[in-house]
């Protein structure tokens, strides 16, 4: 987690590597109650033009949210997450999430997030997060 410091535009979040395993894709699909066959059945995924199963958007959304709150800590509150998917996350790939604080308004930051894999950009988006100022750590003075 990030050291307590004022929010600053231009701050870069450390990258987070997500190994895209078959298990993650299936676990994410089921945890989000998404039973579309393309997220668990390779043969049916192929019939629909995809080389293998691929991660569903809800899992990507969850991972993007986690990436931002992991960085800003448990007091951070997500206000808005807007993502667009590009290249799919297939099993065996690795997605690397990166982020940059684009704008700061008081205790609220807009973070531009991207997740790339071997095929290119899996996800691009922006996350708006409120980060309450740290509680004073000692007595007054």
């Amino acid at each position: 987690m990030r050291q307590e410091a004022p929010l600053r535009a231009g701050e870069e979040l450390p990258p987070l590597e997500i190994p895209v395993t078959r298990t993650l894709i299936v676990a994410g699909a089921l945890a989000s109650r998404d039973y579309q066959d393309v997220h668990h059945d390779p043969e049916l995924a192929r019939q629909k033009g995809s080389p293998d199963i691929f991660m569903n958007i809800l899992t990507t959304n969850g991972l993007v949210g986690r990436y931002v709150t992991d960085h800003f800590g448990p007091t951070a509150v997500l206000r808005r997450v807007a993502i667009r998917l590009g290249a799919p996350n297939h099993p065996g790939d690795t997605m690397v999430l990166t982020g940059t604080v684009e704008q700061v308004d008081g205790d609220t930051a807009t973070v531009r997030v991207a997740g790339s894999n071997a095929l290119g950009h899996h996800v691009t988006g922006t996350v708006t997060v409120t980060v309450p100022p740290a509680a004073p750590s000692g007595g007054a003075g």
Partner: protein, 300 residues
């Protein structure tokens, strides 16, 4: 059908309700939150313990139909889906998700939702196939309070046919009686068996001499010159590894033996008996090289 008559019909659904008075299948609850956090690898303490809230990005999970599907879709949405299905756009993939979280969801919150068909795109061709982007906007409520909004864009598309890689040609069966022949092919030499008893050449390879019965043999390397003794043109049935029509020829080598092979370098309907041909070795894949015969006459 006009330029995109279907597109025009689909556009008519913009602004119509997609879901009316939808109800979340489960109230916000800790087990689903825990499963989500385990899947996402999210260890944020805000999502556990007595004051747990749900991860905000779970918003859509609470309104998913799951295996048993949605009950609350409007007639307009069902019609839109049916139109797309009938047009072959039977597959679906999500492309965009925009969510706003107005207040945290807590275990026990009972979710209701309404959604509207915000827009339908023109017909688009993508890597996956051709179809239409459909955008819906959902208001998520707990009681009377709006707790989140969810804009979701999907591509409903007709899957592009995948170019199928043809299966490899069948492998030759190599056994102890013909292993010498295939060893020769590997060196780009066409070897004919010769009986060491009576000197008779034989092809294909056999364990003994048809003429005198002698089991002993040596080999002669074919010069590669020959003529088409007979042939057929294969049209049907097609075999997956082959591309009909093609000529299968019985080639008489100048040494006097005959072998079955393909004639290449000439349209199959130009192959004739007596056609002079010359041996060459053609590689079909990393592991398979075969002797074939190239026509020495130009196609007439």
């Amino acid at each position: 059908m006009g330029e995109d008559e279907l597109g025009a019909r689909l556009k008519a659904y913009e602004g119509r309700a997609a879901t009316v008075a939808g109800v979340g299948k489960d109230p916000v609850n800790l087990p689903m939150i825990r499963h989500w956090c385990e899947a996402m690898g999210d260890t944020n303490p805000a999502y556990t313990g007595p004051d747990a809230v749900a991860p905000p990005t779970m918003l859509q999970a609470w309104i998913m139909g799951g295996l048993s599907g949605h009950g609350g879709h409007s007639q307009a949405y069902d019609e839109l889906s049916a139109l797309l299905d009938e047009a072959g756009c039977t597959s679906i993939v999500a492309t965009d998700c925009e969510q706003e979280y107005l207040r945290p969801l807590r275990p026990g919150d009972e979710i209701t939702f309404d959604s509207v068909i915000e827009s339908v795109s023109d017909r688009k061709t993508t890597k996956l196939g051709t179809g239409y982007f459909v955008t819906t906007r959902t208001n998520v409520r707990v009681g009377p309070d709006l707790v989140g909004t969810h804009r979701f864009r999907v591509l409903k598309y007709a899957p592009a046919p995948r170019p199928r890689k043809p299966p490899p040609r069948p492998r030759p069966v190599v056994n102890r009686d013909n292993a010498g022949f295939w060893a020769g092919v590997a060196e780009h030499r066409l070897l004919i068996q010769r009986c060491t008893g009576c000197g008779t050449l034989r092809f294909p390879w056999l364990p003994g001499c048809n003429h005198c019965g002698c089991p002993d043999w040596d080999t002669v390397e074919a010069s590669g010159e020959g003529t088409v003794f007979s042939y057929v043109v294969m049209h049907h049935p097609p075999f997956p590894a082959f591309d009909p029509p093609y000529a299968v020829a019985l080639v008489e080598l100048t040494e006097g033996v005959r072998m079955i092979s393909n004639v290449v370098g000439l349209p199959c309907d130009k192959v004739r008996t007596g056609l002079p041909v010359r041996l060459e070795f053609r590689s079909y894949d990393d592991e398979l090289t075969l002797p074939v015969f190239r026509a020495l006459e130009e196609a007439v």
